[in-house]
């Protein structure tokens, strides 16, 4: 990074003026919240950094409305603790990337929106973008823009909220975000099916999700990946949340349904919390130097896909979202992007993001799934509609 000191606006107006100035003199800005995820994506060479660090605080929270609004620089930690005090939570279980990136800094709520950060609960509760009701941001012309609001149903005009979610700071500098929140469950438990191989677990997870048990997390950890999480070898985890009487009822029903398929163990509330935080934060691959991929795909193909990768590369993997999310760890200098994306195409399609790799690798390899031509063109036009002079996060998503 070159140029003057970091820009730290303390108001929307100040942020708008800074962006307008940068656009006027054709300078580029990298967008930062707490800085914990600066090592994801294509490395950027921006002229300066604009940070939301000095623009924080919860601006509106009424538990009975199930909605929270906060300035973009507010820490996720503060949001989660305020919600917990009122018996609520963010439905989509945002991941803390610091474990696998080995980074520090305090993750912000603005970044949760900007990268559409969603964890295990996503399979039933939707992604961050599904809970994101409204945004305020500064576009590349230095205008302050509002879209969406703080109500759960809203079809007033184009839904720019969705575009901002997951745009990795390439469309605007978020200043305020509003999320729908949900009651935290009274209790939770996890049913573990022990010793299934990957193929068997994929079938078991689909079977579990086809039933009426309202499972709120469904993951499979093969034996190797399991070593850092559980002491029982390969495990297929089914999480149940809710009122105590309902949780025990559903556990009983699941137990009888799977009693002939595998040995069963049940984790209590505390162990359940621990396990799903570890799964969420990709603990099996934390503290290592491997390349880590996040692969989103058709659940039924996941085990076959992983097997195909294992035949060609030193890979380790585990499955979340019934197999719809594969966390893949690849040893060695080659991140195997071509192998992974080719096999993905052969196994029903999807997309692969290189979450952890050396800077040199991320410069050479497309970190995000390359888009097909007509969609790529649309994406460029959308970028231009928000940021005509290309101020924000140059080249972070694509070269």
């Amino acid at each position: 990074m070159t140029g003057a000191g970091k820009l730290l606006p303390d108001s929307e107006e100040a942020a708008a003026a800074m962006v307008a100035e940068a656009a006027g003199i054709k300078r580029t800005l990298a967008i930062e919240g707490g800085g914990s995820k600066s090592n994801i994506g294509r490395p950027m060479f921006a002229d300066n950094t604009i940070s939301s660090a000095n623009y924080s605080g919860i601006s509106h929270y009424d538990p009975a409305e199930m909605v929270i609004s906060a300035k973009a620089g507010t820490s996720v930690k503060l949001i989660e603790s305020e919600l917990a005090n009122k018996g609520q939570r963010l439905a989509f279980e945002p991941m803390d990337y610091r474990n696998i990136l080995g980074s520090d800094g305090e993750p912000t709520i603005g970044a949760v929106a900007a990268i559409n950060n969603s964890g295990p609960h996503r399979i039933v509760a939707g992604a961050a973008r599904d809970s994101l009701l409204g945004v305020r941001f500064v576009n590349g012309r230095g205008e302050i823009i509002t879209n969406g609001g703080r109500v759960m149903k809203n079809v007033t005009g184009l839904d720019l909220v969705k575009l901002l979610a997951g745009s990795w700071g390439t469309l605007g500098f978020l200043t305020e975000v509003t999320f729908k929140v949900l009651p935290a469950p009274e209790t939770q438990a996890t049913l573990l099916l022990l010793g299934l191989d990957d193929d068997e677990s994929i079938r078991a997870m689909a079977q579990a999700m086809a039933g009426p048990d309202q499972i709120s997390g469904v993951a499979h950890v093969p034996e190797l990946a399991s070593q850092s999480l559980l002491d029982c070898g390969a495990a297929t985890a089914l999480r149940i949340e809710g009122f105590a009487e309902s949780v025990s009822y559903r556990l009983g029903r699941l137990r009888s349904r799977f009693k002939d398929s595998a040995a069963i163990e049940v984790l209590d509330e505390k162990a359940t919390r621990r396990l799903w935080i570890d799964l969420r934060d990709v603990k099996p691959f934390a503290g290592k130097a491997t390349n880590v991929w996040r692969v989103s795909m058709k659940p039924s193909q996941a085990a076959k896909f992983v097997m195909a990768i294992r035949m060609e590369a030193a890979a380790d993997a585990y499955y979340d979202w019934q197999g719809g999310l594969v966390w893949l760890s690849i040893e060695g200098p080659d991140p195997q992007d071509q192998l992974i994306r080719n096999e993905l195409t052969k196994h029903g399609g999807g997309h692969a993001t290189l979450v952890r790799a050396d800077e040199q690798v991320r410069l050479l390899v497309p970190v995000f799934q390359p888009e097909q031509e007509p969609v790529k063109l649309l994406s460029q036009r959308i970028k231009h509609a928000f940021d005509p002079s290309g101020v924000f996060n140059p080249g972070r998503m694509a070269a």
Partner: protein, 482 residues
């Protein structure tokens, strides 16, 4: 009546009517093109019947490839296009204009793929909302969004309007249940967005498409999420002595950490209208009614209802009636889902769709009554209380021009009230033409400018549904037509 303006039709296009019809017949099978004036009349309006415009022609393509050819031709000739699902829009989203070709998706009505292990269905855009759930019902699955028009409305229209329904409190609206779409752009380019995976790469085009009201492209195929049906579901009626008690009860249920599948609210006029039509057994001696639906096993529902009933008692609930059978449950929902139709039997009405924060419900209800009374009209309220999506039905006589004008003015006042209370103009019906000229009450010029810039990225010459959503006077350089 204070007329909502359409764009001035292009006379040079209308003058070429015959030639355009001929070319469309060359591009499509004969039975896919409608040009005879009498046959065009059914397409002149949608569920917002106060406005009518007979289109130049209607095309009903059978495949994406056919539609792509038609769009390429229409773009080349500069002819506006108005997409149409089943024509049930309540905001005028599908009302044509005289110089436009309507593209209907009704002939694309096949279910292409049902994949239960991966829990999705891939369907053509003209498949009706209910047909998806019907196709997987026997396997224990359903497609969650359930707009009242679900028997008729198409998935293509649902995406264009981001349709909701009574059960979206728990399961979300269309945007939360859509995995992928195939779409034809203004110039005939075909793109695929998303697919069977839970999320898609790049910018969230799928999210942008939902609720874009046919301005970004025409959807021909959708991949939607299927959900396993709960073990059981049970609606319960709660009658209250006044609306405030019912409103406070809603807030307390949610405050207690309980999210039922649905919480529907009806005031006395709505109860009477629906009961007279459906004989659903609604209590007639109460001022406000809540239909609360819980789901799960019998034991789970009992346990949850015990908690809900305890809360309702704190608000002096007068009547509590649990449905005792599937038939009774269906009847309770029939009453609610026929609210609009039943109201239409006793009066003409316009249906508002503002959404407000839950804490504002009681305030907005009482202000709504005052507004309507000020115009000397009557109102029936029936709406999705759990998510604050209000549907005041303003009753009037369509043959009385003065009443009709007053109804529109009262409606506009109510929507402004919703926005001022921290809500929005439309929760699930869309802007269409109906709320177009109120957009500046909710958004600034810059906000709308940003939305129009995105629209421009998809449709640079504003050929798709050009009279809708954005106030004509705010378009400036964004629309060559304005």
């Amino acid at each position: 009546m204070s007329e909502i303006a359409f764009l001035e039709p292009d006379k040079s296009i209308i003058a070429r009517r015959d030639e355009i019809g001929e070319e469309l017949r060359r591009l499509l099978p004969d039975d896919c093109v409608v040009t005879a004036e009498r046959e065009l009349v059914p397409f002149e309006t949608d569920g917002f019947t106060a406005y009518r415009r007979v289109p130049l022609a209607v095309v009903l393509p059978e495949t994406t490839a056919q539609l792509s050819r038609v769009m390429r031709y229409l773009a080349h000739e500069g002819i506006p296009v108005v997409p149409r699902g089943a024509g049930t829009s309540l905001s005028g989203g599908a009302i044509p204009q005289e110089d436009a070709v309507v593209v209907g998706v009704s002939k694309m009505s096949r279910i292409l793929e049902i994949d239960l292990p991966n829990r999705f269905a891939r369907v053509q855009a003209g498949v009706t909302n209910l047909a998806i759930s019907d196709a997987v019902d026997g396997d224990g699955f359903f497609y969650p969004p359930d707009p009242s028009s679900q028997l008729a409305c198409t998935i293509g229209g649902n995406i264009a309007m981001n349709s909701g329904g009574a059960h979206c409190l728990k399961y979300g609206v269309t945007t939360n249940n859509l995995l992928g779409a195939k779409m034809v752009l203004f110039d005939g380019t075909v793109i695929d967005v998303g697919g069977a995976a839970m999320d898609a790469p790049g910018y969230d085009l799928l999210g942008l498409l939902c609720g874009s009201e046919g301005q970004l492209g025409i959807i021909t195929e959708a991949t939607v999420r299927l959900i396993a049906k709960p073990a059981g579901a049970r609606p319960v009626l709660f009658g209250f002595e006044n609306g405030e008690a019912a409103g406070a009860c809603v807030a307390d249920i949610i405050g207690a950490g309980i999210i039922p599948v649905a919480i529907e609210y009806m005031d006395k006029p709505a109860i009477e209208i629906c009961e007279a039509f459906a004989n659903a057994g609604y209590p007639l001696d109460v001022e406000a009614l809540l239909i609360v639906e819980v789901e799960g096993s019998e034991a789970e529902m009992d346990a949850m209802l015990e908690r809900i009933v305890a809360i309702a008692k704190k608000h002096n609930v007068k009547t509590v009636r649990e449905s005792q059978s599937a038939t009774e449950a269906a009847l309770i929902w029939k009453g609610r889902k026929s609210a609009f139709g039943a109201t239409g039997r006793i009066a003409d009405y316009i249906c508002m769709d503002g959404t407000v924060p839950l804490g504002q419900l009681a305030h907005v209800l009482s202000e709504t009554s005052k507004i309507v009374a000020r115009y000397g009209l009557r109102v029936a309220n029936v709406f999705h209380a759990g998510d604050g999506n209000m549907h005041p039905l303003i009753l009037y006589d369509v043959n009385d021009a003065d009443e009709a004008r007053k109804a529109e003015l009262a409606g506009a006042d109510i929507l402004k009230l919703c926005v001022d209370a921290g809500g929005c103009l439309t929760g699930e019906h869309g802007v269409g033409i109906e709320k177009r000229d109120l957009m500046l009450h909710q958004y600034s010029e810059a906000d709308l400018g940003q939305q129009m810039a995105v629209r421009h990225a998809f449709d640079p010459d504003w050929m798709l549904n050009p009279s809708k959503v954005f106030p004509l006077e705010s378009r400036g350089l964004n629309s060559k037509a304005a």
